[in-house]
Symmetry: C2
Subunit: 473 residues, 2 copies
């Protein structure tokens, strides 16, 4: 990339104000919060990248056309909240922030859908719907997340048990291809509930981490606000009992909005940090079961069913939060776990296994705790089988066994039918571990698909999967 | 393909019994029910194709390896119930029937999933679960459909409103690639509820109509049997009112299992044909609203809400089927519409639009009825925006305006944000119409993906998308 001529071209396209070359600002965009706390080295984009802030899909298309002609790398950037170091440039290029494309285009009550430009934040979306009788279920923790990024990363988080992850919410989307075309997926209005015309490119873009296209607009499903919400906090004496109970809840035929697993130390730390108190005092491990029902009767009938777990498990108490305020507070404390402990951990693999395999996986983690004489606290979206293992710092830095342990954590998950990432994505943090899970033929196919979309390999090129595949696959 | 050496090789691989060269049998497999009634000409595979019936994924892999080396076309064949002429050979090759791979591998209560070999039929699956407290929601009409084919075609049908189509049910799958590898998608156990490791190849295979891989095993989600089921039949004086009412139901915040739209003449014909009677006698157009609720109270509360439609619409009556027997009978009559009228129609495009656009689309159909002086009866999965337009024969054959009308039906759907196929797939019936909806760049990408999976273009090659794209895109 010729720095000066590229900057000039961008200024002509977008106006001076939206082309940023200031080193400090650009460097800020070239990082993620995990970069520092996880000790991730960012190879120097400083002074070599240009930050651009288009305001429309047309401007994005013009940027991509130019970049494609000139072979310039483009890194699409949402809010950077995915924590997998997926949008960090590896060399010179354009960092394309979607933040100015933050209009809520339409709330469509007739279809129960909302169309947003990519830069709309989750917070903005939730605020727009607050007080109405429709809502959007997903909550990946950080409300600064942008919906375009959430689609590009296939975000999950809390409340994915009943309605699924981001892929299940995105009815249609608009994206700019690396070759510069503006394309709709899910029909021209992006509102198709069924579409069997040709290969499913929409869901290929979801979770592609900005490597196949720049998502510029998404249409999301909305749901009727349930008549009665409430959260049960069930306290267990041991983590294993909590995970075994989770399987029992599923077998009872109850489908909650969310089943979260948290541990005493981390949840109390998170609560203290934001000046709240965690409502359960007994027990060591908790299931947070969010129910959303058609009536108060249904809620209490299901709560009573869940209470029957006491016959089978050692339960230290069940508390019920049945007001919106209490429920919101619990979610707030839950969402604050990661910020509260971020400085104490070196990594948090988000492995996922078939949900009923969680107890087996937990026992393996206990073996690791003994082997490495450490603690491995766990936070989990238990209803999805998605588990965040917190690897703690030792003396303020990476412990000597870090690399070995991390690889074992991934490998054992894969052995139990699992994946190395359930919701955060591959990014730079997990790229080297992909061959533990994905066969070399599948990696080759993924690289082939990348070339089909992006023949010049300019869009979030990172480490080329092909090189990586040949070396390690 | 060298016929004799291929037959011999297949006999060595599978045993003589499972390699069929009898012209009559092979010809039967090289057709679909639509071939004749829709006047579709099948270019002569007779005497040039060999039918093979492997019994394991390993045998499928051996077939594919040989076919790949020799450049032999392979047409994977389920039950052929998709009605889009998607698995009809265009020339010499192997017809690979999955019918012998019909084991239900596992019902996993802990994970609420079922794993089936590709050749398991929907009927077999439903029977296996009958009387238990878990169930599988989708019902694409013909219970002879095989689950592998249902995945390959992304089948929809009745009961997709709440839980979605086949893609939403398939947690993981095993497939044999055109290059011969046996690959798992969705983790090695195929039971992952969340997986963000690399591109989403699983959902790319779903709906790819046997062109990217041979699906050999699928794991499906199961759901707790609802405590109270029931079906309302709401009778309307006009079809437009029925479709407008459908939007109102969604706006009420009710999410039924299914919202089907049927018309008097077709539903009565279907009922008569199987010796039953349709429970509504008044009205011209009906919404069949299947509710599945947590309690009888919830059911009747929602039924009462739906009854309020009478304030706004001209409703000729509402009947309630609240016993399992009555409900089953209604579904049976509904499923029989297509068989009952198959001989009278020349095509039934299954266009889909955003659900709230259905009334607009209906008005366009009325204009076509006037323009061509014909009737265009409609059957619809109204809750999904999915509409089957029945184009009637004239004097026992295709009317002169058939081609023109069909193209208009597709084009107007696309103009209203729709797709040319919501659930049946492209197949040979709709291939020529794809460019009405899909841009040439997207078609190029689809063709590129096909080449990545299948460099020799041997798997269900049909008309090459590329040629088609260059000629018409």
């Amino acid at each position: 990339m010729d720095y000066c001529s590229t900057a000039e071209k961008m200024q002509n396209l977008l106006g001076d104000k939206w082309v940023i070359t200031d080193e400090e600002i650009v460097t800020g965009y070239a990082r993620e919060s995990t970069s520092e706390s996880y000790g991730l080295v960012c190879p120097g984009p400083e002074g070599e990248c240009i930050l651009v802030k288009p305001e429309s899909s047309e401007e994005v298309a013009e940027i991509m056309q130019y970049a494609c002609e000139e072979g310039i790398a483009v890194i699409p950037k949402g809010a950077g909240t995915s924590l997998s170091a997926n949008a960090i440039p590896e060399g010179p290029g354009l960092i394309l922030s979607l933040e100015r494309m933050n209009d809520i285009v339409e709330i469509d009550r007739d279809n129960m859908m909302i169309t947003c430009q990519a830069g709309v934040t989750l917070g903005q979306l939730l605020e727009e719907l607050a007080g109405s009788d429709i809502y959007f279920p997903l909550h990946p923790g950080d409300e600064g997340a942008q919906v375009g990024g959430m689609a590009a990363m296939n975000a999950g988080g809390v409340r994915a048990v009943r309605h699924g992850v981001m892929q299940d919410q995105v009815v249609g989307l608009e994206a700019v291809l690396p070759t510069g075309e503006i394309e709709s997926f899910g029909g021209s209005e992006k509102k198709l509930l069924k579409d069997n015309s040709g290969y499913n490119l929409k869901d290929l873009l979801i979770g592609s981490e900005g490597t196949l296209a720049v998502i510029t607009e998404v249409t999301l499903k909305l749901y009727p606000e349930p008549d009665f919400n409430g959260t049960l906090i069930v306290s267990f004496a041991s983590r294993l009992e909590a995970f075994e109970a989770e399987t029992e809840i599923r077998k009872m035929g109850i489908i909650p909005m969310a089943v979260e697993y948290v541990e005493k130390k981390q949840i109390e730390m998170a609560a203290r940090d934001i000046g709240k108190s965690w409502p359960a005092s007994e027990g060591e491990a908790y299931l947070m079961i969010m129910l959303a029902e058609d009536s108060e009767d249904d809620f209490y009938r299901k709560a009573a069913d869940i209470q029957k777990l006491e016959d089978e498990f050692e339960i230290n108490g069940i508390s019920v939060a049945d007001t919106t305020r209490e429920e919101k507070e619990i979610l707030e404390i839950r969402s604050h776990i990661l910020p509260a402990i971020q400085e104490e951990i070196v990594d948090s693999p988000d492995v996922t296994v078939p949900p009923a395999n969680l107890p087996d996986y937990l026992q393996i983690l206990e073996e690791f705790e003994n082997e490495y004489n450490t603690e491995l606290p766990v936070v989990a979206h238990a209803g999805d089988g998605n588990l965040h293992v917190l690897i703690l710092k030792e003396e303020g830095g990476k412990p000597a066994y870090f690399g070995e342990l991390k690889k074992k954590i991934y490998r054992k998950a894969v052995d139990l039918g699992g994946t190395i990432t359930g919701e955060h994505g591959v990014g730079r943090l997990r790229l080297d571990y992909l061959p533990l899970q994905i066969s070399s033929r599948q990696l080759e196919i993924m690289w082939g698909i990348k070339q089909v979309f992006d023949p010049e390999n300019i869009l979030n090129p990172g480490k080329k999967i092909k090189e990586f595949n040949i070396n390690k696959g």
